[in-house]
């Protein structure tokens, strides 16, 4: 890992972000959603599930969505090959590119949570859980960004990510039977696991999210390696 190279990629991405309107809309999505929920909630404190849905939407739109667009754009315009052919390592490139997405995610999350009146948590476990979830969404965004062929097709992938991973807790409102396969699969996803961890205090759920992180890391690595070499 090389700090100068990570800094250089971050600086370049930040300048590029300022001139890229397709990325501006992403941080606004969860903020608008938080505003809507706050209105519906009529000033009352929102349930944990709703808070996690806002967190999930923020992560999916910013960490995954922005990175996906940034990666696919680099790939489509063939600038990614330049980075890969430079002495920057895979870690330097991923770190450098993730920093802008992390900044956007944190900024958007702070604004969204303050709109719904969430004052924050002191739970070390919850903070670790959020860090794992952020890592998962970042790696998922990078992996899909490298997998997708064109910028135009990112929307096709962004929407399912938003619903499947960002809003998974909504599955509780679908009226599925308690022990149904659909519900059990849905609850194994990262966000429901974090909610369960909050409710029970068990570290096992964090382990499950950890497995999702490892899976996303392998997914991102496979497509990174594939992008470096031509077929």
């Amino acid at each position: 890992m090389n700090i100068t190279r990570i800094g250089a990629i971050f600086e370049k991405d930040m300048k590029d972000f300022m001139k890229n309107p397709s990325l501006f809309i992403m941080p606004l999505m969860p903020i608008l959603m938080a505003f809507l929920y706050e209105r519906i909630g009529n000033g009352e404190e929102l349930p944990l599930l709703m808070i996690y849905i806002i967190i999930g939407t923020t992560f999916a739109a910013n960490a995954s969505g922005c990175l996906m667009i940034m990666m696919v754009e680099e790939k489509e315009k063939m600038t990614l090959r330049g980075l890969m052919m430079s002495p920057a390592s895979i870690v330097d490139i991923i770190f450098g590119k993730s920093l802008v997405a992390i900044l956007l995610t944190v900024g958007s999350l702070v604004i969204s949570l303050s709109i719904i009146g969430f004052t924050g948590t002191n739970s070390f476990q919850a903070i670790i859980g959020l860090f794992f979830a952020l890592l998962f969404f970042i790696l998922l965004g990078i992996g899909i960004g490298l997998f997708v062929k064109t910028i135009a097709s990112t929307q096709v992938y962004l929407t399912p990510i938003l619903f499947i991973f960002g809003m998974t807790p909504f599955i509780d409102f679908l009226g599925l039977e308690k022990n149904s396969l659909g519900l059990r699969i849905g609850q194994a996803f990262p966000l429901p696991q974090l909610i369960k961890m909050n409710e029970t205090g068990s570290w096992i759920h964090l382990g499950v999210v950890g497995i999702w992180v490892v899976g996303a890391a392998i997914f991102a690595y496979i497509f990174f390696a594939k992008t470096r070499i031509d077929d």
């Binding site: 800094g7 250089a8 600038t79 002495p87 390592s89 077929d231």
Partner: protein
């Protein structure tokens, strides 16, 4: 001087199609080596295998004393520069932003930006947004990006294909200067004039097969019919083969001060390519 590239029976197959077939050659340190061939001959595939962008099917490929599994190391990447059809710039950023990024990635001093812009004749253009540049200017910024870290070995794939003659001449001058400073250059081109002007040695690639290799002068001599074209003072034009009888006639004409103009019939690289491969160099 040692070899910086050593390729032995290198082969690349794409499913059933063989793009490069058992190619062998060496490039010495400080050389400008030209790989000549028409589009689709396998020149780009060769560069991609030598830079680790494409896996070889078989054979050996040693670059800067390293094997292909080492081509993804920072040590290898910091010693090479690649300008190919896969090279691109960040269009929303300025020329300066693009070059500064690569300065930092290669750990080169920021003063290199000015130096490389001078080489590619783009001084004073650093504040321009890349998307606003012409195709030729973009190509020159790409070349500047490739040179920013003063690589020991430079791979150039048709570097002047989008440039006008003036800028091409400037780039050629810059490349010669770089070469004089010690950079080895591997040049893919179908421009025989470019090869003639720059290269110490050239190789002809056609349908993935290496057909001929040598110094341009030696090749011209080898494929020359060794005939003398003479125009006498009386306006007579003679074509005399290289034979003892003709040598006597030429000596006589010289002694009688009858020769207005005399030259040998050396073929151009393009003509040699056509002779060797049966194909035109520019397709």
């Amino acid at each position: 001087m040692g070899n910086v590239i050593k390729v032995e029976k290198l082969e690349k197959k794409f499913k059933e199609q063989t793009a490069v077939k058992e190619v062998s050659f060496e490039v010495g340190q400080g050389e400008i080596f030209g790989l000549l061939g028409p589009s689709g001959a396998g020149k780009t595939t060769m560069i991609k295998m030598m830079t680790g962008e494409l896996a070889k099917t078989s054979g050996n490929c040693e670059v800067l004393g390293m094997q292909p599994e080492q081509y993804k190391t920072a040590r290898f990447k910091s010693q090479i520069g690649v300008l190919s059809d896969n090279s691109a710039l960040y269009e929303r950023l300025t020329v300066n932003d693009n070059l500064k990024l690569f300065c930092k990635l290669y750990n080169a001093p920021l003063s290199s930006v000015k130096e490389v812009l001078q080489i590619v004749n783009l001084e004073g253009e650093e504040k321009k947004i890349v998307s606003k540049l012409s195709k030729g200017m973009k190509q020159r910024v790409l070349l500047a990006k490739t040179l920013i870290h003063k690589p020991a070995l430079l791979f150039l794939d048709e570097p002047t294909s989008a440039l006008d003659p003036g800028n091409t001449a400037h780039i050629h001058y810059g490349l010669k200067k770089l070469n004089e400073a010690g950079t080895t250059i591997f040049l893919n081109t179908h421009n025989m004039e470019e090869a003639n002007m720059l290269c110490n040695r050239v190789a002809f690639l056609s349908d993935g097969i290496l057909q001929e290799i040598g110094k341009p002068n030696e090749l011209r001599y080898k494929y020359s019919n060794h005939a003398f074209h003479i125009e006498t003072n009386s306006g007579e034009r003679l074509v005399l083969d290289n034979s003892p009888e003709n040598a006597e006639q030429i000596a006589r004409l010289i002694a009688d001060k009858q020769i207005k103009e005399m030259h040998t019939d050396n073929p151009t690289l393009g003509e040699i390519f056509l002779k060797v491969t049966g194909k035109e160099l520019v397709v």
